[in-house]
Amino acid sequence: MQTELLQEARRQVEICNACRYCEGYCAVFPAMHSERAFGDGDLTQLANLCHNCRGCYYACQYTEPHEFALNLPAALAEVRQDSWESFAYPSWAARRVQRSGVLIAVALVLGIAALFWAARFIGAAGGDGFYAVLSHNLMAAIFAPAFLFPLVSLAISLRRYWRATGGGAVRLADIVAAFGAAARLRDLTGGHGDGCNFEDEDRFSHARRVAHQMVMYGFLLCFAATGAGTVMHYLFAMPAPYPVFSLPKGLGLSGGVLLTIGAVWMAALKLRADRRLGAAHAWGAEMGFVLLLGFVALSGLALFALGATSAMPTLLALHLGAVLAFFLLTPFSKMAHGFYRMTALVRDAGRKAAH
């Protein structure tokens, strides 16, 4: 990891640790205040606990023009970003993808092109519905590795993270606590329940928290839809297409709508927020990722609406191409943040239990 980023975070954290006014905002400060000296692993853990709610920035008496020049959300965002890039497997991929929205767009185009190519030159083996364009076996042949590779890559990354931050044995109670915090996005409540500071300086609002949860739950619903379809296909010999009132369609439709609205909202909030309070060079890639997620959801909805028309094969290639790009980019894009955050929350729950 980059020493100058860690050094700057250490300088700021030492000032924060002598002040402690922000203790009530989020999990970062109680974790910080239990230490007196901050190693690289400690700073990495604090950085991954930080949800960039910015409460501490707007409450800070030492922000510029004060000579202490505190900007803790940015300092931690830089360390966090750097940690994701260096723990990624392979890390060169993350270094490129985490810094470039253009690269995400290129991946999207390549994914779509690959699907068009597959549809055109390999095609179907006489299936129904979507399988008339791409056979089920071909879809599985493309997406099974595209799904498994990110999981393997992320597992390696999280192991690296756990080691770097000095994590010990994992307890079930810590995992439960972490899921509880993530399910409510506790660290964007401001501690007082008024929300966070993001799109309008020091005004507290729940906008980012709600938008993020729409994206997260929307994504999980879509994922559950795919899972339900897979189970129905293999276990119950009920291949697609499914009717509107079926588990895969019901989950997928509600998830797609949530995810689309959430992604557009997140992007709009991001445009209004002060960029100097985040990792400066990652802004484009973060925006690219939010838009990619939105595109995945929107193209899925379009497919749902126009699946019976002649636009279906084109829409299918667009949607599946976007999904392919999304999966392959997962360990190297902003998508990885969810996995690191969960790990950091588990680690923090363990710290609290040990105290």
């Binding site: 002598a18 006014y21 707007y58 008496q61 020091d202």
Partner: protein, 461 residues
């Protein structure tokens, strides 16, 4: 400048905002003139963290009970009886109503911060500290239609008979005049004007550090005193604590505090001790050390600890100087090496059995036959490495101010000034003759800010 205002509030901190919000809610058109630019708005309030509050039962974040009698007794202890009984009791009694009022106007509280458990019953901590309180009040004020002008430096209030006729201020290089019906002064003490401090304290004041805003230069205070406004308080009295000598001249705030004194010996530049470092627990003694250090040559002190005490107090923002020998530390700190070694040896020889040492309560682990003694936490300084911090006087705010009555109204020798009220540090000398009680400044500001706003609005209507 064609708009007219019922009320002009001078200053932009807690007292100013409480008065502006109260007046605006009573229907007045209010203009706030804040000298500081927006990032530094809020005066000393941006550095505060809590509010001392009477309560007859659990209230918000506060536990148990803190009665008027106990609160008043705590105040009398620190002021040595130098307080206005009537105004002090008014502030204490009203504080209980203030807490829900603060919450209703956007202030959020939090459980006591780590290291401040001793204040859990008496002081309500602002979530995010004083700047978040200031932010919340500005949001509320602006929603109520209060107009705020930053970098608006008031230069003169024209007092004619028993009325303020005009307010002059500079804004972006231009002079302006406003003629409101009522005026509220809430622009703090004069501590940032080193020349004024030096007139009161002598040249020693040049070595003082100012813990808070550089914008409290007492310009309005001086202007009103020159026109015969009645004053209260002694110009040498102020809230002053011993802070890290490496703190910036202004605005160092909370992170420059040093809590190591009870576990240390403190010497002057001649390596001589000068006061009992272990007289009482630090929260009860930190406010006297500012004056103690101010009385030493060069207005500087040096706290020396050894390795076993390093983790017993809140970390300071500046790392201590560190050496393997006392002489080495003396050299780093520019102290006479022989002298420091002798002082430490003499202290160590006077230490008795340290087995009863208890860092968070008075443990009577004391020296014998030493002058001055160290009456608690007296453990020999023997375990390398040795650490040192320099201490300087950090002034929070001065007490010389405007004399007010129970309606926060100012006066001249001829009687009340009919349309002038004061709130906050600029009138705190009416209550604090000397000494300081943690969180009481915010109580005075909130209580008298609200009174001033109410009275000024009633007069304007």
């Amino acid at each position: 400048m064609t708009q007219t205002y019922d009320i002009v509030v001078i200053g932009g901190g807690n007292a100013a905002l409480c008065s502006a919000i109260t007046a605006a809610e009573a229907g007045a058109r209010v203009l706030i003139l804040e000298t500081a630019p927006k990032p530094y708005r809020g005066g000393n309030s941006r550095h505060t963290r809590n509010f001392r509050c009477m309560h007859s039962g659990p209230l918000g974040p506060l536990i148990e009970e803190y009665s008027e009698a106990e609160y008043f007794a705590d105040l009398m202890k620190v002021t040595g009886g130098k307080t206005d009984d009537h105004l002090a009791r008014l502030a204490i009694r009203t504080s209980q109503d203030c807490l829900p009022w603060m919450q209703a106007h956007g202030v959020r509280f939090q459980p006591p911060l780590s290291g401040t458990l001793s204040l859990a019953r008496t002081n309500a901590f602002f979530r995010g500290g004083g700047k978040s309180l200031v932010n919340a009040y500005y949001r509320t004020a602006q929603r109520l239609g209060v107009e705020v002008r930053y970098q608006a430096a008031v230069t003169h209030l024209e007092l004619h008979g028993d009325r303020i006729e005009r307010v002059d201020y500079d804004h972006r290089g231009q002079s302006h005049q406003v003629t409101p019906t009522s005026v509220i002064v809430a622009s703090g003490g004069f501590q940032a004007d080193t020349d004024w401090l030096a007139r009161a304290w002598g040249p020693a004041a040049e070595n003082f550090l100012i813990r808070g805003t550089p914008y409290n230069r007492g310009i309005v205070l001086a202007d009103l005193l020159a026109q015969g406004a009645q004053s209260v308080g002694d110009p040498t009295q102020c809230h002053a604590v011993a802070i890290d000598g490496r703190a910036p001249k202004f605005d160092g705030g909370i992170v420059t505090r040093l809590d190591c004194v009870p576990f240390s010996i403190v010497v002057n530049k001649h390596a001589q001790r000068f006061y009992d470092e272990g007289e009482d627990v630090w929260p009860k003694r930190y406010a006297i050390w500012g004056r103690l250090v101010a009385a030493q040559p060069g207005q500087v002190g040096y706290a020396i600890i050894d390795a076993k005490s390093l983790d017993l107090f809140m970390p300071s923002v500046f790392a201590p100087l560190k050496a393997d020998t006392i002489e080495g530390l003396a050299t780093l700190m520019d102290l006479p090496a022989e002298g420091l070694r002798a002082t430490v040896e003499q202290f160590n020889a006077a230490c008795g059995d340290p087995s009863g040492f208890h860092p968070t309560e008075m443990d009577s682990v004391t020296t014998t036959g030493l002058t001055p003694p160290k009456t608690n936490w007296a453990r020999p300084i023997t375990q390398a490495p040795f650490y040192g911090y320099s201490l300087r006087t950090g002034v929070t705010f001065t007490y010389l101010g405007l004399k007010v009555d129970e309606t926060a109204q100012c006066s001249t020798a001829n009687g009340p000034i009919r349309n002038l009220w004061a709130a906050g540090e600029t009138m705190a000398g009416s209550i604090l003759g000397q000494g300081y009680l943690a969180g009481f400044g915010m109580t005075i500001g909130t209580v008298f800010g609200r009174i001033a706003g109410r009275e000024a609005a009633a007069y304007a209507n």
